[in-house]
Subunit: 211 residues, 2 copies
């Protein structure tokens, strides 16, 4: 597992010119950090008398965020794996018409494959953001900034992941497939942006008031 | 060093209710990941004939990003350390007028101390963003999405770090100090937002065109 290594080493590996882990894996990592911020808020809220009315939902949030965090950690590897067919396809020869045709077909499929992990990363982070919204509004006020931090990380990781969809769809020849994948990404981005503005807005108002 | 441990362990530690690492340390980590994306672009650009005209600046970018990444990794620890006086101050008694007065003074200084690492994190990430802008415009076109990913991470980490300034300044009694620290944070956020929009806008236009 890519994240099953020293953090400084992971950061150095990401900094190198090696193709993986790349932007997709980095986005899944930041998504896992967003989930961590939600879990921190939930862990500071659960079991407290002041928040007993929402204890059941806090438990649900803990469950959901733990699951999505685990999923995002796995998706760092899936994103790297999803890039392999594309790396192979790039190397195919196109000296003859026949080779050109084969390369185009293989590329098209590889581009589709490479865009699947980024889309799955986005779907997972969207679930994280829904929990962050609940926790920002109902979780421990001691951790209000942490819910905001989580929302900021999550939205940036969603948009980062969408760039890894678009860099693949850009090269696709089949317009219908390209449009469909871009639409999926755009719709999730729209939801994420709305959620981020709500959560970040609430937190900022709480911390800075009207000054 | 906090990041000198397994990444999954770090994510789990962040998810716990332990006060450190908290939002500030998480922001420095995402800042280091933003620097990693810049380094990836620079490493894919340096030494290439196509980009030899900008080789000198690419070398500068490599130097600057390496330095700021190292600094951000250190700042994860400095942020945790900066929180210690505040954790102590919270526990001071305030049973008498005298104790109350002492606690207020100690708290005021501890809140100032706790806001220094978040401000340093922001200053460091701003330098990372300036390099990302250069790399997004002049770096290898193969890595265009990575410059965008870096800009997204950087801006979210800057805003996340500012929340860790505001959560401290909110409790300050000295209005002049509060306003000054908030102003420093707001000015850096404004620059970061502008840089992010420029870099992300360029990348998105390049990847999606006008569709």
């Amino acid at each position: 597992m890519i994240l099953d290594r020293n953090t400084i080493e992971f950061i150095e590996l990401l900094s190198s010119k090696e193709p993986t882990p790349g932007g997709g894996g980095a986005a899944a990592t930041v998504g896992a950090l967003a989930a961590a911020m939600g879990l921190m808020v939930a862990n500071l809220t659960t079991g407290k008398k002041k928040y007993e009315e929402v204890e059941h939902q806090v438990q649900e949030a803990l469950h959901c965020l733990t699951r999505e965090q685990k999923r995002l950690i796995e998706l760092v590897d899936e994103d790297a794996k999803g890039f392999l067919p594309l790396a192979k396809a790039y190397k195919l020869p196109k000296n003859t018409k026949e080779e050109e045709k084969i390369k185009e077909e293989v590329m098209e499929e590889a581009l589709f494959t490479a865009s699947q992990a980024p889309l799955a990363i986005m779907a997972s982070i969207l679930k994280v953001m829904e929990q962050l919204k609940f926790l920002g509004e109902n979780g421990s006020t001691l951790a209000i900034s942490d819910a905001g931090v989580g929302a900021l990380f999550a939205e940036s990781a969603m948009k980062a992941s969408s760039l890894n969809v678009f860099i693949n769809t850009k090269m696709m020849k089949k317009e219908a497939v390209r449009k469909e994948l871009n639409k999926q990404a755009d719709q999730m981005i729209e939801k994420a942006q709305k959620l981020k503005e709500e959560i970040y807005g609430t937190v900022l108002k709480n911390l800075k008031g009207d000054q």
